[in-house]
């Protein structure tokens, strides 16, 4: 059901301090190098296909979590926690669901020193066990809608894994809701897809295409799956979030019935929606460069690094005192969005390690810190501060010397512009690498070798044609775009069969 990683690179173990392979030379290797050098994560190795999320990576996840969590709560959802283990028989109750997930299950057969009568599986997703509890909680239309979310770990025994993008265990959130009618459920699906899309663009600075999955790419057990698809720097697509219309499939499988206002018994209409630590993979492949990680300020665990520069002990003490003064001013800056349920101050590090400044610059660049401040005796004399943004843009090119008096205001402004500049750059890349293709020859050329673009093509709507595209090129139909998310609908002819088509769909190779 899901596309598999196509790279030949297995996750590699290694200590930070090595080199970062340029993207042009070997993109998958570059990805691994960036993760290792930024100390985001490392492959667990002793646990197949798992990773350890290291502090710098986990801090990004925490910022993703709290921001999404606020948005879920603002849309009326409440968090709860359901069991990790699911009776094996539960998985088999929805026919498509078991077909999709059975091959990937991890099974607990023994516990407490005994063989279990019925094995448990570790949740690959929780529709089944939550369906069971919904059947206990829902009795009347007054109990609906039921709007829940869970932050949890899940496990899918994948053969080919890649850090963040696809690991056997991963962290995610799964929303689960039940409604009295189909229309409300469909509205919920679109509402949460909207939350994901807004989050991706506003916070991750990662533009996305919102659309609907084809029948063969939808979630196992859903009526219909919606998704957001992001373009990575190599032109491949990343499914960054999904929102499913489950119809009454799980309602029927778990007998979740309610009494309607008219007094009838009906099955509830359900939705589920999720994003995972995979978002961090998307973040890396949207913004990082050959020098390492690049983080948008809204997700950066550290915003500013101050590198003191001195040659003598006297210079050192003067420069360090000034650095501490600047830091004290910076860390009082509250950068929280209005009425956010978290409070963010600028995070500032003074790097006074016994190393050459150049080595420090290199180090913090790899970790994606947005702003570097250099401070030496000459800067003190001139009442100025040297500022360098992690990525050059209109708002800050090369090293700039900012008068001390304007420093704080400049940093605030630079950070806001940096966030915007990253989104603008990603949008420009997306536009530049999106193409409308009309012939199969063009298509084959676009997807030659390992290449990918976002190709907007007419498709005849059949499973057969979709399978043929995938077989011949390993490109897949990523989605049928929602209004405004792709070229304006105009009738055309399928790129493979020439049969009529009402609108173009998005085709790309995918992670």
């Amino acid at each position: 059901m899901k596309p598999k990683a196509s790279s030949e690179h297995e996750d590699q173990v290694g200590k930070a301090g090595g080199k970062i392979t340029p993207r042009a030379e070997d993109y998958p290797q570059w990805y691994q190098d960036v993760i290792r050098e930024a100390e985001m994560a490392e492959p667990a190795k002793v646990v197949k296909g798992c990773m350890v999320i290291k502090p710098h990576g986990y801090a990004v996840w925490e910022k993703i979590q709290r921001e999404l969590d606020g948005r879920f709560k603002a849309t009326g959802h409440k968090n709860a926690y359901f069991p990790l283990l699911i009776p094996q028989s539960f998985i088999t109750k929805e026919a498509e669901h078991v077909e999709g997930f059975a091959p990937e299950l991890a099974v607990v057969t023994h516990a407490g020193g005994e063989k279990l009568d019925e094995p448990y599986v570790i949740r690959p997703t929780s529709e089944t066990v939550i369906g069971y509890f919904f059947s206990r909680w829902v009795d009347s239309y007054r109990d609906l809608p039921l709007l829940m979310n869970q932050w949890a770990n899940v496990m899918r025994w994948e053969k080919r894994t890649r850090m963040f993008l696809r690991t056997t265990e991963f962290l995610w959130q799964e929303g689960h809701t039940a409604h009295a009618n189909h229309q409300e459920a469909q509205e919920e699906v679109q509402r949460m897809l909207g939350v994901y899309g807004d989050f991706a663009e506003e916070v991750m600075a990662m533009p996305v295409i919102r659309g609907v999955k084809t029948e063969s790419e939808k979630f196992a057990g859903a009526l219909q799956s919606s998704c957001i698809e992001a373009m990575m720097q190599d032109g491949k697509a990343l499914q960054a979030g999904t929102s499913h219309d489950l119809g009454q499939n799980f309602g029927k499988a778990f007998n979740v019935q309610f009494q309607t206002q008219a007094g009838n018994r009906e099955y509830v209409w359900q939705t589920s929606w999720g994003v995972s630590t995979r978002l961090i993979g998307g973040l890396i492949m949207t913004h990082a460069d050959d020098a390492g990680l690049v983080l948008p300020p809204r997700l950066a665990p550290i915003h500013v690094v101050i590198v003191p520069i001195f040659r003598s002990d006297d210079e050192r003490s003067r420069v360090m005192a000034a650095a501490e003064r600047i830091k004290a001013e910076l860390v009082d800056i509250d950068i929280s969005p209005p009425r956010a349920r978290y409070r963010d101050f600028l995070e500032v590090v003074i790097d006074d390690r016994d190393m050459k400044p150049g080595a420090k610059f290199y180090d913090w660049e790899r970790r994606g810190v947005p702003v570097r401040v250099e401070l030496g005796p000459k800067d003190l004399e001139k009442d100025q501060v040297c500022v360098k943004m992690r990525v050059d843009s209109e708002a800050g090119k090369g090293k700039e010397f900012i008068p001390q008096a304007q420093f704080i205001a400049t940093i605030r402004e630079r950070l806001a512009k940096f966030q915007d500049a990253l989104l603008a750059a990603a949008r420009a890349r997306l536009a530049a690498r999106s193409v409308e293709l009309n012939t199969w020859d063009e298509f084959l050329k676009t997807f030659a070798g390992e290449q990918s673009s976002f190709a907007w093509c007419h498709w005849d709507g059949t499973r057969e044609t979709e399978a043929r595209i995938k077989e011949q090129t390993r490109a897949t139909i990523r989605c049928i775009p929602l209004p405004g998310q792709g070229p304006a609908p105009e009738p055309g002819q399928c790129i493979v069969t020439g049969k009529p088509s009402a609108q173009r769909v998005l085709i790309a190779r995918a992670y």
Copy 2:
């Protein structure tokens, strides 16, 4: 190693809307009733010994998490995430550890449709797998101290379970640190025990005794375990948090060596420390009463419920307008502690359900909302608001009529005083039920039947005497108190053997 639940009550399923058994009649049943009626959690039943944490319970856990998380970060710790699964062979590498945990393991033998070469266990705690990664990360004294924490689910296949207090799966945090010498590790153990103790008292309003576990009660694999012990309303003890000095045990088992400043290779000194969703059980049994849950304001998901009172449509619209006005004023009140990384506003609910006011009062009392506001046409005429605190205390007895102009200031003051009053009441209970016992006869009387108190007794320090106390009374030595945590040390004679003893220890029945 750990005391087992002594009650005969298994977790019972049931819908909210039933009655709450009085504590005096059946304490364990009361505990279950409170959880059910407040909709905090329910037994999963289909997954042995697990529970579902429902939104009202999970919201309390979220408040516990964010407050503790801030305190961990303020003491220099960083969050990370390690694999759920642990190779079975890892558990056996530390001799005492395997002895303690082997009987409680859940084992994954199959995954991805195949039998695994080596089974994995679901983490019962992560010393082993984290020890393995520490060995990859630590090379030099410059890499130390390594200060990490993980928020995660863990699994221990317990035979007797009780919601929150002991479930096969539970949520917790586990801190894991590595240090260059024993003294630093010991300081870390005490620092984190201090964080737990302060949190319990300042935020949970739950007084605790800080102490050291005996050899037979310590964590499997530790040199020494420290703990905080709280007294429940029935006089039993709850181990609410532990902080372990692991010595070099896991360093040796996983070969975590570092080069010292002097150039030698040495094993690191490690600590681990944790609290879990069990704290919620402690919270319930510290504050709840026969009317249901009682929550300290700092952990309450809802602070104020406004119940509009009216008989006609005209009254309704006037009262509801006033209620909305009051709510709008209240929800703007920022109650966050200074420089907290979260931002808390008063959470206010207007209960306009089509029910009698009395039924609403009853409902919100059961959920532990600290402040109830009643608002009717007469109150509007008199420019007043009727306020009733969840528990009577000096700061608010019975229903009070507060002039509108003083309402906001009064609510703020009442909430602060309510938090203090709960702690004071719990402290008074702890003092009233703490006794110094000097003879075995007194001891047997104190622990007759199912009774328990916090008994401070002299003990000869031997494993044999400890076992004899437990065997005869099911009371256990909860801890050897830290200075200032129990009666001033004075020499005496063991309550069982009459042998000499340097100080009294804390003995109680425990959850």
